[in-house]
Symmetry: C2
Subunit: 447 residues, 2 copies
């Protein structure tokens, strides 16, 4: 569970600093990604739900405050910061966000947070970790699901996830990104995601006799049973299943030459009257291996994908940033911008718009947040939280998944290609360009 | 927090299957890794503490059981499984493990679990996720810390971690692997790890005037203050610090040409009488970039490393496996082994031994667990849990860190080289070879 201490220490040293300086003006931060990971043509926003829940629940316990008081780095901080500022601390700000399940591109704010600067700054690390992780996984899932070409993909990666908390959120994000379900039981319990599971090699080994293992399983699970064939010899196991009279819903292959084995098994099942028994494949799969298997004629009805989904293994971290874009200073609102070389950024509060042509997303526009936007453009950032309270109750996860499917389907086909050299255009509005030039020209003081 | 449902569904379908078959014999599983990730020459064991805590606390709540009962996949399971087996479920088994902080190699069991098979099987996913994640991070940390050549490394990766739970465990594992501290406040609170933090660019931007931002910070934190110089212009910022009379403990550089900037800043600080002010560097660092910076003469006193540590980004998942190696069947103990092609494994309970020559680890031996081991060999697996209770209270984390430092220091120097083509020998004892041949020869029945 996230706590108030799910933060980097500098968020607390700065909070104490702002408090000591008597400075708690409204500030706006935006959370976004500067570039896509290699081979990705888009991201899928996710993780907002946990972020909002964290903001709503954020409190410091007495124990946590006592710990902070004695932390050497905070030893110079006067008592009132702990007694007044942290005790009774609430997040009271406003949040705008791009809906979970929406394809997003670099520089588009996944989240915009406006709150007194102490509050807005304190939540930086937790928001980044929550939003960029789920976004990574949802993005990967959209690719994997696309490669599976309408065959169901089940997220199987809990054991490879970065701990059990990451496993839970990976299951959630993978489902939003298009997976049919997960093996993670907690994700079923907490989020209502369909859970599924077969048997492990250990089940087969525990009985010693493979057929006994299959029969025992089938006697309990009947036509739902999925039998794992590759503990010893796949082809022999398939023959045993057929001659035994068992009628599993599917068999699973987890190793070996899947193209060849799936064809042999398919033939054996079909000849044995088990034409309805599916072939489910798992074992170090990702979008590339799935595409390759299908291209080479593997006979597969569904995929279980683990590591690649749960860790987004080829891009295990997004370079998400949380930047101060605007602050109230001396009664006026000042757009801010970091000027260090090589790191472009845009000052001020922004909105992102998606412009469609004949039902396909043609390009996005990044604008100043109070601009009216391009004709026909759809505004992507919406109010998610007002004065510390969610604007709306969370949607059912299945709705987020359906949204993702629809919106990814509206992207240009070239972006959905997994080799992904294709780039989608995010234009900068004239007003945003002008503000950027102005702020850059004014130098360090930022206005 | 891990729960009883931090599991893959198949662990529950199998549990119900064993229960229905009246089969709950003692079984032994071993958790290990089949191969090292590319460029790694060793792993550092970590994650045991959370695993043992999970085993001690594992309970099913009424709500969880109610959820399981209505799960479609478990709909055929008779009531007593839920009412008798899950309600009142406790982990009552024994665990042997390699101490956290110990360098380990492929095929060496990080954990060996012996329990009635329902219990031992149910915990598979949680144990894998906990142990392989922390082991990944501790292993990466040992490399990064080695590259820093005695300069302190602080783990800064919480924002890039796979959620806030992963951030906490990454901080713990990075500390075991040799980091000096973490920015993660929760890790300080929960584990007593030293926390540190500086300021963000947003602090400097919030004040508009850079020097005011520095002065405000220093007035609160005095000689502990670390000032971030690269919001606008590093060299100018360094000159401002010197001429202002501020005496920060260090300055931080987070972007730009670190070799060049660190030398310029060092010269400015030294000429300005700030010879004691250190230079701390962060920003997309890993072991390779650190080694390169130092080789090219960067003037750096310490490093903050984020993504590379918190996600072990070049090897974000270890292929950890949890294999049934032995089961009691019909009154006798039967070693088991999966025979599918291309995946070597060794049957039966095993022990790993480290053999030293002149104070340096020369090779390891993997043996049958009741062998006496090679002369002078140090047994790596020790009793960690007996009948569901920890054998010993957890050691202070600083002791695990000291152990890691000592044991990594005893590895051959070639293994500590970050380009790591070097391989360490893990020999297989004659008895283990004989058992393996015997079990493989006996085929599917496994004895």
């Amino acid at each position: 569970m996230p706590t108030a201490l799910s933060a980097d220490l500098y968020e607390l040293t700065m909070a104490a600093g702002y408090y000591a300086a008597g400075m708690n003006d409204l500030a706006t931060f935006e959370l976004y990604v500067r570039e896509l990971p290699p081979h990705r043509s888009f991201l899928v926003a996710a993780g907002l739900d946990e972020a909002l829940e964290h903001l709503e629940r954020l409190r410091f316990t007495d124990e946590e405050i006592a710990y902070l008081r004695q932390t050497p780095n905070l030893s110079g901080v006067p008592g009132p910061f702990f007694d007044d500022c942290l005790r009774g601390f609430r997040f009271t700000g406003d949040v705008w966000a791009i809906d979970e399940g929406t394809p997003v591109f670099p520089y588009e704010p996944l989240l915009r947070v406006r709150a007194p600067i102490i509050e807005a700054q304190l939540v930086e690390t937790a928001l980044l970790a929550m939003v960029t992780f789920e976004t990574s996984v949802a993005s990967k899932a959209a690719r994997v699901v696309g490669a599976a070409a309408s065959r169901p993909v089940i997220e199987f990666g809990s054991r490879r996830a970065h701990g059990v908390g990451a496993a839970l959120h990976a299951a959630r994000a993978a489902y939003i990104g298009g997976c049919e379900g997960t093996s993670n039981v907690e994700a079923g319990f907490r989020y209502g995601i369909p859970v599924s599971g077969t048997m492990a090699h250990s089940w087969v080994m525990a009985f010693g006799d493979e057929l006994e293992a299959f029969s025992r399983y089938t006697s309990l699970y009947g036509e739902r049973a999925v039998l794992l064939l590759d503990t010893y010899d796949v082809v022999e196991a398939a023959r045993r299943v057929v001659s035994s009279g068992l009628r599993p819903s599917a068999i699973r292959l987890d190793s070996g030459d899947i193209v060849e084995l799936s064809r042999q098994v398919r033939a054996i099942l079909d000849e044995g009257g088990l034409g309805d028994t599916g072939i489910f494949v798992s074992g170090d799969l990702d979008e590339y291996r799935i595409a390759d298997l299908l291209e080479r004629g593997a006979m597969v009805n569904g995929f279980g994908v683990g590591t690649a989904l749960a860790t987004s293994n080829d891009a295990p971290a997004l370079g998400g940033i949380y930047k101060l874009v605007e602050i109230r200073r001396g009664g006026s609102i000042v757009p801010t911008m970091k000027l260090s070389p090589g790191k472009l950024s845009y000052p001020g509060c922004k909105q992102a718009w998606r412009v469609y042509e004949k039902g396909t997303a043609a390009y996005d526009v990044l604008s100043v947040c109070d601009e009216s936007g391009p004709p026909g453009g759809v505004a992507l950032l919406k109010t998610a939280m007002s004065r510390g309270r969610r604007a709306e109750p969370p949607l059912p996860l299945a709705d987020l998944r359906a949204r993702c499917r629809r919106l990814v389907g509206e992207l240009p086909a070239s972006l959905r290609c997994i080799d992904g050299a294709s780039t989608y255009r995010v234009a900068i509005s004239d007003r945003l360009s002008a503000v950027t030039r102005k702020v850059a020209g004014e130098g360090p003081a930022g206005g």
